[in-house]
Subunit: 456 residues, 2 copies
């Protein structure tokens, strides 16, 4: 009996319900929601696509799903690629800003809206579709494919390093396709080959056991003022970090990396339009460009502030406590634990020894060698798929964060991204989406890559 | 038929249900809760105690209740005292810190817990009890008594000035007993004869139409940082307000007022114990004492902060907006509208013209002449009731705020407080309470005052 040949469009259509059910799982790792059913779902998806799957959970944290698809013997390929994805998603708040149900996949004007769709459930799904397409083709699967699908990426992947260290042989491969990627605000297809690291902190100030009538503000200290002054001491209003040593030991990017960044032009107008920015880029008064800032410079972001009365109207209260969330995006050469020490030292030296600092997650940055043949194969296959209508760009460092450093350290492999994201995809924000056209093209890119990779 | 004579204890016992039902009304003015039923309840209480009542609502805002109790003709007194009270209460949040239901009056170890009990429903009730006691006595009510019970005190009394202006004749009297008062942390009975004013602001910063993935923090401005720096520019970490002109035009207190404040000693240890303070008084490094700060110096308090992600764990987001609530307690000579102008000017001059500033409520401060005979009568009657076990102290300015300025301006009368509050009463905070012993004594003070006032 002859195997019926499906097109990519057929596969997308036939497996839509399966994809949408995956999106419906509210696998918010920071809130420990729906982890077990999602692990089962991911495992089942790998198996139903024709692979082997194994759940690794002996090192703590949310389970890591390993998947394996063996190359068709006809091809005689010894090559193995590792697909890194994650099944967890960001929290969906603020709920009132969603125009659709955050966990009900909804198609509007060629876009698919759902929490986690661009970051990164769709990218996992389209890799499975590429495998299904190739396995039913005459040549069969041209190389070996492994999956590592983890469930704590949105929480800083605190346990992934341990799994990669212990299971380095299991995940051994020749290169890694990263979980994210896609098109930027100028519709260029961007291949990211590095990421920034992160040091994410809680800060707490406390002034009393209870909230106090604010008339006592004449004599009683105020947690909100303490925290405000502590934060203001960390970064000036011109956006320079003031913590001594923060910018020390930053590794200089390679010539190729610098050249690649110099050739890119970030469109401030387009980004301002997408997000409705109220102010110019903060780099306008800095010594480095927006492109350099995104690729090569660390950040310090207040992600949240909370103290006292925050409803409508007035309440005259001295808040007993205040808290802030602070996110530093790091670059190669910076160590989250060292950054924690520097911040602690800074707070102590500036009279804020009472302000508590807690490192919630830390990750080091990573940059692949963009001249590596694996990276070049990802680029060439992208040129093949996207080249007719989109420029393909190699980016040395994505401004976002992921656990790439551990892949370099334990597996010694280069990393490159391929995904179906778009510039208005609103990862981590309300109304997250992908464009269905990008989803189909992304599947084609994975097919083209796997064919070329066999030879690379 | 002879009228049966009740003791104060009898009255307290007989009318307990009526009092508790008043406490059960969650009359939170800033959230517009239960205003109409509370107005009716207050009116009914005045009438059932034997007075006349009228609801004034022609000038907007929550209604003002006028009450009138005519002096017994036997006494030949022309004197009229005005009792100022309010029927509204503060919001009850944070709910999880209450040990009892905030709107269910609960007696534990001689204390009565309920939102609004000390601020100031109990003081209104005990004045009614004093009237009932005197009206059933042989001499009858020794002077005329008027009530002004408003419903927007916790919202800055935005409409009271207009009512006092229009109804100045209706409320015409010889002196005003203020709504609050009671014992301090050293068990002294304190009679307040002035209040601070207030300028309460919302501050808003905005950086985008949507929350954004924090990796873009390398180039995109951040509302939380903007607001943090704007706030930090307003007051230094040594608690001095940095807004140019803020301390200008402050009126020097009279010699008697200065003397009265110099004689007082605020117990930092006791206050620290009551509230569980984590830091010493902020006046320790200032040029003025804690006592002077509380009576004669303005404050600037952050009452609330809100921006971005504030739950457990991490969310890597550039918040699109940030907001703060800022409460300035003012002293005589400062004008809330002028303070608003100074803050606006300061923000503009310091590069924060994008930070929105909204004056939510403004009130001027007021100080009575503490040598006035009315004030002295309040003091003498307090000596009579409290003198055997508590020192009685005249205070020129309470650190709190109330609409006293309008009483001085439109009625031209001195003001003095008498209440049943205690230092651990937690006004505006969870677990607000009075002590039942103070409630009974407060009733006796009002009886003693009304008897003496006839002659004053």
């Amino acid at each position: 009996m002859q195997k019926s040949k499906q097109t990519v469009k057929d596969i997308i259509k036939n497996r839509e319900k399966e994809f949408f059910d995956y999106l419906r799982l509210d696998s918010v790792s920071t809130q420990n929601r729906s982890i077990a059913p999602t692990v089962k779902y991911v495992t089942d998806l790998i198996v139903s696509t024709g692979g082997e799957a194994k759940v690794l959970d002996d090192l703590g944290g949310n389970p890591v799903v390993y998947g394996y698809f063996k190359a068709d013997p006809k091809g005689n390929s010894e090559k193995t690629v590792l697909f890194y994805n994650h099944y967890d998603v960001q929290p969906e708040d603020p709920l009132d800003e969603w125009e659709t149900d955050p966990f009900e996949p909804t198609v509007i004007d060629g876009k698919l809206f759902c929490r986690g769709v661009t970051d990164n459930k769709a990218n996992f799904i389209l890799r499975l579709y590429a495998l299904e397409y190739l396995m039913q083709s005459e040549e069969g699967l041209p190389c070996n494919v492994k999956f590592l699908v983890e469930g704590e990426e949105e929480n800083g992947s605190p346990n992934l390093d341990a799994y990669l260290e212990k299971y380095a042989d299991l995940f051994d491969s020749d290169g890694c396709i990263w979980e994210f990627g896609g098109k930027n605000e100028k519709e260029q297809f961007v291949i990211e080959t590095g990421v920034k690291g992160m040091a994410y902190f809680d800060l707490f100030a406390e002034s009393a056991d209870v909230d106090i009538h604010s008339s006592l503000g004449a004599v009683v200290d105020n947690a909100a003022w303490r925290l405000t002054h502590a934060l203001a001491s960390l970064r000036d209003k011109d956006n320079q970090v003031l913590v001594a040593g923060f910018y020390d030991n930053i590794e200089h990017p390679s010539g190729s990396a610098q050249k690649a960044v110099k050739e890119r032009v970030v469109s401030e107008d387009k980004i301002a339009g997408i997000y409705g920015l109220k102010h110019p880029f903060i780099t306008k008064d800095l010594e480095w460009s927006a492109e350099e800032a995104l690729a090569f410079y660390p950040t310090m972001t207040i992600c949240g502030l909370l103290s006292g009365y925050t409803e409508e109207g007035t309440k005259t209260v001295l808040p007993r406590k205040a808290s802030a969330k602070l996110d530093c995006r790091l670059v190669p050469g910076q160590d989250p634990l060292k950054i924690e020490q520097l911040l602690r030292h800074h707070l102590d030296e500036h009279g804020f020894s009472d302000v508590e600092l807690v490192l919630l997650k830390g990750q080091k940055a990573f940059r692949s060698d963009i001249d590596h043949p694996f990276v070049q194969t990802v680029k060439e296959s992208a040129d093949e798929v996207y080249g007719s209508h989109s420029e393909v760009v190699l980016s040395p460092t994505n401004p976002g964060t992921g656990p790439m450093y551990s892949f370099g350290k334990h597996l010694g492999i280069p990393v490159a991204s391929s995904g179906c994201g778009h510039a208005e995809g609103k990862a981590h924000a309300p109304n997250e989406s992908i464009r269905l056209k990008d989803f189909e093209e992304g599947t084609h890119h994975m097919i083209a890559f796997l064919k070329r990779f066999k030879e690379a």
